[in-house]
Each structure stands twice: as structure tokens, then as C-alpha cells.
């Protein structure tokens, strides 16, 4: 036990991140199911409006800060040293501190339930609803303090990843040769360092208003409610890419290996990531199109938001082109990656709809947004992570996940996810606002909502099957060997699971696929120039 509590080895810290993300994923999923139950029919009274509002606030906050960020950080901390041929993170103690800040921040957030007043103002908690006058309970104080801790943890782990990637690469591995997962984790980490301080600043302002009688957001006292929105979304939109880019990185590892071809257009995929990072700092006001901010101002943000579709689209085409002409093995990991491609495309395209200001002027804050974010973050990020879990589980555990259970869980998750969320596009188009604890019995509302609830139940079943697969395979799975997928990156040169010291001998790298070079000495990726 104390081995784990005091762990500073990157593999242990990485696994701690993953387990804590899984724990909070189940909590956030339960909150979602409470909401879906309440919405199953018009006018239900299973829970009070206050409880409903706590549920969606905790669900959103949990999924973003306690699931998406930590699971990706966990994979980063676990895999980056292995992929770049290092034995440890550059700053192991900072790594442990970052994890515990993150995890205990989550615990603090959940302790708010014990006070009887969990936060209830939504995951982006607009002022002045969050001011003491409108939210007198302690919930929002817990929320702000917990997020401050999580912010500290996130920035710490991001700095650690940046320093590690900058300084610990194996001899010969230039930045043009690092695996794309490492490349995208690096970009996401840099984004964390620049975006999270805006969140921290807004949280400090909120706490000052609530606890010290400051008046940053109180219009009656000369404060500005919109100040919160600007600060929050300057953090909040880069945040979307922070939890999407490392997932792109996972897809960029999984698809090539199971298509038996190198990623199509590595330089384009890598540079388009940097383009996304830059653009993501210039799109925040597209969350505020419904505010009268002035037409020219909105037009600039519309243009930037549309532009970001271009580098994102480049990636999708690159992944499809990687499959094209390959020799594709449909393992469970690859199935999740392929489903990711289609679902993320849907989420990306509905994002373009929101960049189109007149469409946003109708669809924002409806269920169309709920559908959009879930196609991006569940159909995208979660599916990519599930592909990643199936791909790297043998490295973590030395055992293969059961393919038969894997396929069952895959089809249930695909069916459940798309049933739950695709119909929400229509609910939004029909005029159902988001964040309502109930709705009138308007045409189609009841039918579409009950379909969504049934889909969510199927999804839960699929996720539970996936968890069962993890638990069973961990103890009884088939031994995988070091390199079960015949892969190309350095982590597969280490033992499964890797020894405390990842590599007895640090390898020298000459191309993006060092293990391909090893396996095909007659046709390596590099050539003597």
C-alpha cells in the first residue's frame, strides 16, 4: 500500500492517474444516469430541481477535470518516458505531488455532497449566479477551491511532461522523430501551462467575491458579469483541445500499427497540432455569441473558429489515408479507433455549425450543444482512450484484454453512445434547452428523451462490461509478451510490464519507427543521407 502512496516511479504514478480517472468516470456516469432517468418522460419528479442542477454541475466538472484531464495525463506520464527511451520522468517528485493535488482536489469537490450543498451552477458557473446573493450555499466555495487544487496539479504535471520531453529523449531522437502521441502530449501540456492560469485567476476572483466581499462580477457594484465569461473561456476553449489532442495522439499510434503502415503525412499531422494550439486561444468568444458583443468582434471569432476546422480536418484525412492501402487488423483497439474517426467527424462538423454565428444564435444552449460536446469528448476522447487502453493494456499488465468481451463491450458502447446522443441533435433543433430538470410535453420531446435514456442505459452496460474485462484480464488474461501487436515505437522494446528501470540499455534512435528498423534491417525507415 505505502508502495503506491509514496510512488514516484512514472509507471505507478501513471496507473494511479488512470485508476482515479476510472473511479471518477463511474461517479460522473452515475450522475448522468440520474439525469437521464429524470428526463425519461416529461414532468417527472424523481429528483428536485436543486438536485438535478447539482448533478449536471458535478457531471460536467467531474468529466472534464477528474476524468478527461487525468486519464490523458496518466497515459502521458506512463507512456512518454517509455516512448522516448527514458527510464523516468524528469521531475518524479513533482509528478507525485501533481497527482495527489489532482486527486485530493477531486475528493474535496465530492466532500461538498456531505455539506448538503454540492455546487449547482454548471461546469462553467456563470456569474452573477455564482455570487453569494444567488448561491448562498457552500457548494461553489468547494467547487472553486477544488478546481484551484486541480489547476495546480494539472500545471505541475504539464511542466513535468514538457521538461521530460525536452530533456530525456533517447540519443538520436530529434523532435522530428518523436512518436505523435508524445508530440501531441507536448503541445497539450504547453497549452495547459498557458490556459489554466486564466481559470485560476477567475476562481480567485470568484472566491474573493464570495468570501471577501469583493465585487468583480457584481454589476450593481460596478463589477462585470461578462468578465467571468471572458476569463473562463480563454481557459475553456483551449481546454477542449487539451483533452482532445493527446487523444488524437493515441489514434495516431493505434491506426498505423493495425493498418501496418506509417502515419500518412507525419509533418502535416504534427504541425496541424501546433496550428490548433495557436488558434484555440483565439476562439473563446464563440461560447459567447448569444451576448451582444458587437458584430465585428463576433465575426473575428467566427472566422477563427471555422479556421480551426482545417487543421482538424487534415488529421482526419491523414488517419483515413493511413488505413487506405494498409493491411488492417480489426482488434478491439482498432474498432474503437475507427468508431472514433466517424464520431469525432460528426462532433467536429457540428462544431463548424456553431462557428456559423446565425446557427449558433438559435442552437447554442440547447441539446444540440449537448450532442456536440458528447460527440467530441465521448465519441472522440473517450473512444480514443478506449482504443488506447486496449492497445497499451498488455504493456501495463503483461496480459491481453479478452477480445471477445472487448468486442461485446465495443458494440454495446457504440450502440449506446450513438442512441443516447444522436437524438439529442434533434431535441436541440426542436427547441429543448440544455440544463432543464424537466420539460413540457411538446411533440417528440418525450419520445426522443426516452430513446436517449435507453441509449444511456445500454452505454452504461457496455462500460461495465469493459470494466469487467479489465478486472478479469488483469488476473486471468493471456500472457501478451513484450510486443503483442508487432508495433514500432520504443515502449514495445521494454518488458511487459516494464521493469522499474524501463530500458537496461538506452536505445539509439534513427527514425520514427525504431522497432520497424530493428525488424526490417533490409528496409529501415532511415537512409544514409
Amino acid at each position: 500500500m505505502s508502495d503506491w502512496l509514496c510512488a514516484i516511479d512514472h509507471k505507478r504514478v501513471g496507473i494511479l492517474y488512470m485508476l482515479s480517472a476510472l473511479l471518477f468516470f463511474l461517479a460522473g456516469g452515475m450522475e448522468a444516469m440520474v439525469m437521464r432517468a429524470q428526463l425519461a418522460a416529461p414532468g417527472l419528479k424523481l429528483i428536485t430541481p436543486e438536485i438535478y442542477n447539482q448533478m449536471f454541475t458535478m457531471h460536467g466538472t467531474t468529466m472534464i477535470f477528474l476524468v478527461a484531464m487525468p486519464i490523458l495525463t496518466g497515459f502521458g506520464v506512463y507512456l512518454v518516458p517509455l516512448m522516448i527511451g527514458a527510464n523516468e520522468m524528469a521531475l518524479p517528485r513533482l509528478g507525485a505531488l501533481s497527482f495527489w493535488l489532482q486527486f485530493l482536489g477531486g475528493v474535496l469537490l465530492y466532500l461538498s455532497f456531505a455539506t448538503g450543498a454540492a455546487p449547482d451552477a454548471g461546469w462553467f458557473s456563470y456569474a452573477p449566479l455564482t455570487e453569494k446573493a444567488f448561491s448562498p450555499g457552500a457548494g461553489l466555495d468547494y467547487w472553486a477551491l477544488a478546481l484551484l487544487m486541480i489547476t495546480g496539479g494539472s500545471v505541475g504535471s504539464a511542466i513535468n511532461l514538457i521538461v521530460t520531453i525536452a530533456t530525456q529523449r533517447a540519443p538520436g531522437m530529434t523532435m522530428r522523430l518523436v512518436p505523435l502521441f508524445v508530440w501531441m502530449t507536448l503541445v497539450a501540456s504547453i497549452m495547459i501551462v498557458f490556459a489554466l492560469p486564466a481559470l485560476a485567476a477567475s476562481l480567485v476572483m470568484l472566491l474573493s467575491d464570495r468570501l471577501l466581499h469583493a465585487r468583480f462580477f457584481d454589476p450593481a457594484q460596478g463589477g462585470a458579469p461578462l468578465l467571468w465569461q471572458h476569463y473562463f473561456w480563454i481557459f475553456g476553449h483551449p481546454e477542449v483541445y487539451i483533452v482532445v489532442l493527446p487523444a488524437f495522439g493515441m489514434i495516431s499510434e493505434v491506426i498505423p500499427v493495425f493498418s501496418r503502415k506509417p502515419i500518412f503525412g507525419y509533418p502535416f499531422v504534427a504541425t496541424s497540432t501546433v496550428a490548433i494550439a495557436f488558434l484555440s486561444y483565439g476562439v473563446w468568444a464563440h461560447h459567447m455569441f448569444a451576448v451582444a458583443l458587437g458584430r465585428n468582434f463576433l465575426a473575428i471569432f467566427s472566422a477563427a473558429s471555422m479556421l480551426i476546422a482545417v487543421p482538424t480536418g487534415m488529421k482526419i484525412f491523414s488517419w483515413v489515408a493511413t488505413m487506405w492501402g494498409g493491411s488492417i487488423r480489426f482488434t478491439t483497439a482498432m474498432l474503437f479507433a475507427v468508431a472514433f474517426l466517424l464520431e469525432f467527424t460528426v462532433g467536429g462538423l457540428s462544431g463548424v455549425a456553431f462557428a456559423t454565428v446565425p446557427v449558433d444564435w438559435q442552437m447554442t444552449d440547447t441539446y444540440f450543444v449537448v450532442a456536440h460536446i458528447h460527440y467530441v469528448l465521448f465519441g472522440g476522447t473517450v473512444f480514443a482512450v478506449l482504443a488506447g487502453v486496449h492497445y497499451w493494456f498488455p504493456k501495463l499488465s503483461g496480459r491481453l484484454l479478452d477480445e471477445k468481451l472487448g468486442r461485446w463491450s465495443f458494440w454495446l458502447i457504440v450502440l449506446g453512445f450513438n442512441t443516447a446522443f444522436f437524438v439529442q441533435h434533434f431535441l436541440g433543433l426542436l427547441g429543448m434547452p440544455r440544463r432543464v430538470y424537466t420539460y413540457p410535453n411538446l411533440p417528440w420531446f418525450g419520445a426522443l428523451n426516452v430513446i436517449s435514456t435507453v441509449g444511456a442505459a445500454i452505454l452504461v452496460f457496455g462500460i461495465l462490461l469493459f470494466c469487467a474485462n479489465i478486472a478479469m484480464s488483469f488476473f486471468f488474461g493471456v500472457t501478451s509478451g513484450d510486443d503483442p501487436w508487432n508495433a514500432w515505437t520504443l515502449e514495445w522494446a521494454a518488458a511487459s510490464p516494464p521493469a522499474i528501470e524501463n530500458f537496461a540499455e538506452i536505445p539509439t534512435v534513427r527514425s520514427r519507427r525504431p522497432l520497424w528498423d530493428q525488424k526490417h534491417p533490409e528496409a529501415p525507415d532511415w537512409s544514409e543521407a
Binding site: 442542477n53 501496418r260 448569444a290 493491411s327 488492417i328 466517424l342 462538423l349 446565425p358 438559435q362
Partner: protein, 295 residues
């Protein structure tokens, strides 16, 4: 707006079909022929293709951006108009108040003349709300301390649904409203009727009218549509009996549901700002009779 949406839908569907076709075709055509299959040809990229799938989307979004800006100009009202608005709409937790230039105040149903556009000003009395009547106007956030303007326009007379579209607290779900668009003469007639006081109470309603004053109901609720303070503290109750819904849509306007508001407002709409009235059964009956007399 419908045109812009259709355009986006067509573009999105086309792009999705291209991606899906590529994925499905590859999945079938390039499926592995078993474990012993030789490695396929190793292709590292194609500069030409990569440029194509950078430039083509760039052209698409450029076109979309031009359409977007043109539609914005058509839809959006001037935000620094010197014209006084024809209608001021104020969001409250959790109801809407509409104020007309000659002092008439409406709660619940907002009447407008059909077939011409009105300049409406959106305000908030407390937190951020969003005025959304999908058939009649763009969505507009009601931000406390700011005035925002929209064009409100119904092509044909009729009753149009609307709702608050920015989360604003416990009862965000029941912050619905209706816009009743009428011909110009019937709109004018409605304004006149609205400005008239209701008939004097009779019978038990007289006692109710007295209670309305002594129990300080009038501190928050006005019973005449004209000359009330702006913004009101509670919904205006003028001509309450002629309304179809109570509590911004949470229930139909029946004597039973109105009685619940009088005896246990937190049961009528949990979380709402109305304090407990502490009325006796007889007092509640008298007050109900009075409110029912506000035709």
C-alpha cells in the same frame, strides 16, 4: 437563417460522407488477409494530397464565413440605436416581464403586432438569462447591467413558444413564455384592455383585496398594468384570471394551482423567490376569490 442552416447541413453531410466512404472502403478493401500476410507497401505521405485536403476545406470555410457575415448583418439589430425600443423585455428568476412604451406591463404572454419588426431591448433584473423565441428572433443573452437589442418579428399572427436559454438557477426549466402576434388593430385593443383596471371586487373578493394590501402582497406584485415600478419585484398580476398558465409554464391557471401558490408557494414552484404567506384557510379563499376576479 433556415437557408444558412441548410447550407451548413449540406456541407457537413457531404464531408461526413466523404470521410465515412474512405473509412468503410478501407475497412473492407484493405482488411488483413490473416496473420502471415506480408506488410503492405509503406507509404509515408503525399505532399500533393495533403495540400489538397488543406486548401479545399479552407475554401469551404471561407465561403461559409462570407455567408455567415451576410446573414449576421440581416439578423442582428443595431446595438447602439438612438430609437427608443418598442418593447423592453426583462428576465427575472424565473419569469419574464414585458414593458410597453405607454407603461403597460405584461407577464407570461408577450403581445406584439404581426408582420413588422419591433426593436426590443433585453435586460435582466438579477442573473444572466437568455430570451429565446426561436420562430421570431435570434437568441439574446439578458445580462444584468447591459442593454441588448433584437429585432422581434412574426410573419403571421399566431402564438409562438419561447423559453429562457441560459442556465439561471433552480427553475431555469420553467422560465417559458409565449409571444402572441396579432393584427395591428387587435394588438392596439389588447394594449387598451391591459391598461384598464379590472372590475371592482365583489363579495368575498373584497376581503381578498384588503388582505392583498395588509399582507403586503403588493410589495412585490402590482395588480394594475400601468405605472408599476421597473423592474418589478414579482410578476405583475393585472388580469391574472385571463392567463392560461401560471409560474412561467409550470402549471395551467386553475383555481387549484393558484390556491397552491397562495398556501404553499414552494410546492407550486420549488426554489422560487416567493416567501411563505402564512395565510389561514379562510384568508386564502378570500385572496383566491380576489385574484380570480382580476379578469
Amino acid at each position: 437563417m433556415a437557408g444558412v442552416f441548410s447550407l451548413v447541413l449540406v456541407i457537413a453531410a457531404t464531408v461526413f460522407l466523404v470521410v465515412a466512404a474512405g473509412v468503410v472502403y478501407s475497412s473492407i478493401r484493405y482488411r488483413s488477409r490473416g496473420l502471415g500476410a506480408p506488410e503492405p507497401k509503406q507509404i509515408f505521405g503525399s505532399r500533393k494530397l495533403e495540400v489538397v485536403w488543406t486548401v479545399v476545406p479552407l475554401l469551404i470555410v471561407t465561403g461559409l464565413f462570407i455567408v455567415t457575415v451576410r446573414a449576421m448583418v440581416l439578423i442582428d439589430a443595431p446595438q447602439n440605436s438612438t430609437h427608443p425600443p418598442e418593447l423592453v423585455i426583462i428576465g427575472h428568476q424565473w419569469w419574464w416581464e414585458a414593458r410597453y412604451p405607454d407603461g403597460v406591463v405584461a407577464t407570461g404572454d408577450i403581445h406584439i403586432p404581426a408582420s413588422r419588426r419591433l426593436l426590443a431591448r433585453i435586460e435582466s433584473a438579477d442573473v444572466i438569462h437568455d430570451f429565446w423565441a426561436p420562430d421570431l428572433a435570434r437568441k439574446m443573452d439578458a445580462v444584468p447591467g447591459r442593454w441588448s437589442y433584437i429585432w422581434l418579428e412574426a410573419d403571421t399572427p399566431g402564438t409562438y413558444a419561447g423559453t429562457c436559454s441560459e442556465f439561471c438557477g433552480a427553475q431555469h426549466a420553467w422560465m417559458r413564455f409565449r409571444v402572441v402576434a396579432e393584427t395591428e388593430p387587435s394588438f392596439e385593443a389588447w394594449l387598451q384592455r391591459q391598461a384598464q383596471p379590472s372590475l371592482a371586487p365583489r363579495g368575498i373578493a373584497v376581503e381578498g383585496a384588503r388582505l392583498f394590501q395588509t399582507r403586503k402582497c403588493g410589495d412585490c406584485h402590482a395588480v394594475t398594468a400601468a405605472g408599476a415600478v421597473s423592474p418589478a419585484k414579482g410578476p405583475n398580476l393585472a388580469h391574472l384570471a385571463s392567463r392560461e398558465f401560471l409560474g412561467s409554464g409550470i402549471s395551467r391557471n386553475t383555481p387549484e394551482s393558484l390556491m397552491l401558490w397562495l398556501t404553499n408557494p414552494q410546492a407550486a414552484k420549488p426554489g422560487n423567490r416567493m416567501p411563505d404567506t402564512k395565510l389561514s384557510a379562510n384568508e386564502a379563499r378570500a385572496l383566491l376569490a380576489y385574484l380570480e376576479s382580476l379578469q
